[in-house]
Amino acid sequence: MSATSATTARRALLPSGARPFVSSLFAIVAAFVVGGVFLALRGKDPLAAYGLLFTRGLGTGYGVTETLIHLAPLLIMSAGLLLALRAGIWNIGVDGQLLVGALFAGVAGSAIAGSVPAPVMWLVAALAGMLGGLLWAVVPAILRVKYGLNEIITTLMMNYVALNVTSWLVKGPVKDPDVVPPQTRLIPKEMRLPDIPGTEIHIGLLVGLVAVLVVAVIFRYTVLGFQLDVLGRNRFAAIHAGLPVGKLTAFALLASGAFAGLAGANDILGVKGLFQGNWSPAYGFAAFAMVYLARLNSLWILPFAYFFSFLAIGGEMMARPLEIPTYFTEVLEGLMLVFFAVAVYFERKFAPADRSPDAMEAEGMPSAAITAEPIVTPELPVPTGERR
């Protein structure tokens, strides 16, 4: 929200500014309109629904607090997802990585809770969570780098495997033997993450902010981020420039796995205190839609994540009085992504274009670049405003 002032002054030609977010805004508004029609068709009053959504979600202290608590894992997860997507890696398996990370954190945390100072326990549990998420990304990473197997399907499949593996573990090997339901041992409330002074929001939110900042710093200030960006924008240029493409690919997958795992740990340490079987958080698709609406720009994640978190919480809060199933949030997310695709088309149509293959030919580009290997102007990822 603070980045706008710094970027608006820039000239139209420059690769930054708030301009790209017009598309995101369009997508959001269009999704709300169509979603409203959808509600109306179901005999509900969309204006009342949206009114309630905004007044309760934004206008009440409870709504804001819940939104900020929900925001923490979303921020951490999106930061990792952004890292992968910027490098051109489709890590659709963040949900599975989050689950495994949460389980690891729940087990490690409850195992040492009480025997070490709480901060040490947090650190161990957080590291365990990151390790879990990272481990869950190892298989797709190996398959991608060693066997050239596209990560989309493998990460998707690993999601379902994660659901089953964690569900089995929590019913058997790591189950709390003293209770009936399948869950890990409870980390007592007093040992969980404390609230930020003066609020009822646990300090996991700060971890989320730090995670986003870390990723922003990586992309803005480090060689690593620079290389990931090159890889994501033009793989051939990365090869031509001699970048370690395999290592970068593996890093992007593993790091985003670790971030997802940390998000899981955050939920355990901050809110839940234990890992329950058949828990399906499904942050992944929301994070995915959100990172795209933020145009793969790390700092822009902050407002968009808040918005998405607000949607989730507000959606829950309007659900009861108006009898609108909470899944309405998911409908909106899907619609946003669909309209975002439409917006990207118009943006490309009216933006100052890169040269077309025709012009390349006329400029003496090898014809092979035109016919044998069709050049697809890399429309995505389209990071903006990250550089200056």
Partner: protein, 547 residues
């Protein structure tokens, strides 16, 4: 008399029948030409690819369209085949003005094209490829179609089963399949884009025979080529393009057998320009060319191309400090792969590459670049730059892990920015600033930046592939002078190009690549455009035939 092949005669409905031989051709000069292209103009952004070009095609006449790469031949043919729309001028078919909106429309009007990159689907059978897009029946009767096609294939000297997969055929066979495919659609104007560039000498003879056969059937044939001998051997008429303009047209009497040598000289002059190799280069030759120590040595280097076939076939080459070594050759003869081998971007299968006496074979781009090898690719947009990234970022793409741009971990944005500004200034890159997306710059300015990027590392050896291609004259001159200066400073430059002007301008030695091999090497004084052109087109055999 109608030269058009029947499109409805096929028994199966899949394959139209060809009209019998002798049904067309022969002195129908009173009728309008089959195709007349008048004052065709086509512009891509600032670049004029075709400027006021006229072309007339007659029934039963073979017309050669000659010119260097980028002379506008392909664009002209793409306009006739419906791929592009002209910005100006008109096309007349049988005297009637027409608009050819798409390749399909061109086909339906009897204009068929055989491109350099064949439009055959490799993993489909011959018969499927021929049937593609022809006819409207829902179910394909493959057996009947096979019988039909078998006969046609035989007629064109193709002894392959219609059921064989295209990917299993030789290049020459594929080309014939492509021709049969186009003819089976009722084509009476056949465009052949660089038809011989991919063929072996024997196959070339076969193709020329085939063209004569088609001529006898009354088909108007256009051969787009820069291979002179073949063009003259079979054509009735020659049009030469240069820089998008028509610079010469020779009629049947001018290229008759008796006057062929004269015709050849005129065409070469028109194609390459009179000045090439005449020693009037504006850039001074290097002082001590070829006198310095050996910087780069290649020994019996072999490497595969992208498609798996061997592209570099045992090349041995030494580059000395202070010299520019020009490599001439028609595209696709292994020059690009040679450049990539030196840059570390392509795997060497056997042989060795050494820099300053130290072996660097297969050490990868990062190491080669750190050791002092620069490489300016010809694929500027595809791999040379990241179009969506800024000029500044692109200026340090290869050096980002080195000081002063980073300490290995943290970027030094100030240094990067200052570096980009310096390059922009030194090389006169036209950009609003270093933080503009490079994809928004013109091709020439991108090229200048890529050149600047490599030179900034002060490489001992600089490989440049087509560094002035598509640039305006002033920029091209600037690039050439820069390369010369770099060599004079005690470095070696390998200049790869298919444009002889560019090579002659600044090279100290000139090598010619043909079919993956270094077919000949000349000191600059001993080379002339015609000899080199011949070797480019036919290898060493071409030169010996001349001698």
């Amino acid at each position: 008399m109608n030269a058009r092949f029947s499109t409805t005669g096929g028994m199966t409905g899949i394959l139209p029948r060809l009209a019998p031989e002798g049904s067309g051709g022969g002195g129908a000069s009173s009728r309008p030409p089959v195709v007349e292209m008048r004052h065709i103009r086509k512009q891509f952004g600032p670049v004029v690819a075709n400027d006021n070009v006229n072309l007339t095609l007659r029934e039963g006449e073979v017309h050669a369209l000659l010119g260097e790469n980028g002379a506008g031949k392909t664009t002209l043919m793409s306009i006739l085949s419906g791929m592009y729309q002209p910005d100006g001028g008109e096309i007349l078919l049988d005297g009637q003005p027409v608009r050819i909106g798409s390749p399909a429309e061109a086909l339906s009007r009897g204009i068929g094209a055989v491109y350099q990159h064949f439009t055959l689907v490799p993993n489909m059978s011959v018969i499927e490829n021929v049937a593609l897009g022809a006819g409207s029946n829902v179910v394909l009767d493959m057996d009947a179609a096979e019988r039909d096609l078998q006969a046609q294939l035989g007629e064109f000297g193709l002894n392959v089963s219609p059921r064989s997969k295209v990917s299993d055929l030789s290049i020459g066979q594929r080309q014939r399949v492509e021709i049969v495919k186009v003819l089976s659609r009722g084509t009476r104007v056949l465009l052949l884009d660089e038809p011989t560039s991919v063929l072996t000498p024997v196959e070339v003879e076969g193709l020329l025979d085939l063209i004569r056969q088609l001529k006898a059937r009354g088909v108007a044939v256009v051969i787009v080529t820069h291979k002179l001998d073949e063009a003259l051997a079979v054509s009735d008429r020659v049009t030469v393009l240069r820089g998008g303009r028509k610079v010469a047209e020779l009629g049947p009497d001018q290229i008759a057998a008796g006057t062929r040598a004269d015709a050849k000289r005129r065409v070469v002059e028109a194609m390459f320009g009179g000045g090439a190799g005449a020693g009037e280069a504006a850039v001074p030759e290097g002082g001590g060319h070829a006198a310095g120590p050996v910087l780069l040595a290649l020994h019996e280097v072999r490497a595969d191309g992208n498609l798996g076939a061997e592209a570099v076939r045992g090349i041995t080459l030494e580059l000395r400090a202070g010299e520019i070594f020009g490599i001439a050759g028609v595209d696709g003869n292994g020059q690009k792969e040679l450049g990539e081998v030196i840059a570390g971007q392509r795997h060497v299968r056997s042989g060795s590459v050494s820099l300053d006496g130290k072996e660097i074979t297969n050490s990868g781009v990062a190491k080669a670049s750190a050791l002092g090898i620069g490489y300016v690719t010809d694929e500027r947009l595809h791999e040379g730059c990241v179009q969506s990234a800024t000029v500044a970022d692109n200026s340090v793409l290869k050096a980002i892990r080195r000081a002063p741009f980073s300490n290995g971990w943290w970027l030094n944005r100030k240094a990067i920015d200052a570096h980009a500004r310096a390059l922009i200034q030194q090389f006169d890159v036209r950009t609003p600033g270093p933080d503009v997306r490079i994809g928004l710059l013109s091709g020439g300015n991108i090229q200048k930046l890529l050149m600047a990027r490599e030179l900034a590392g002060n490489p001992r050896v600089l490989v440049c592939n087509k560094p002035t291609h598509g640039l305006d004259l002033k920029t091209a001159r600037f690039v050439a002078e820069t390369l010369r200066r770099h060599a004079d400073a005690g470095n070696a430059v390998l200049l790869i190009s298919s444009e002889l002007d560019e090579i002659f301008d600044i090279s100290d030695r000139i090598g010619v690549m043909y079919n993956g091999d270094l077919a000949a090497v000349f000191p600059r004084g001993a080379a002339d455009a015609e000899t080199i052109g011949q070797i480019m087109l036919a290898g060493r055999a071409g030169a010996e035939a001349r001698a």
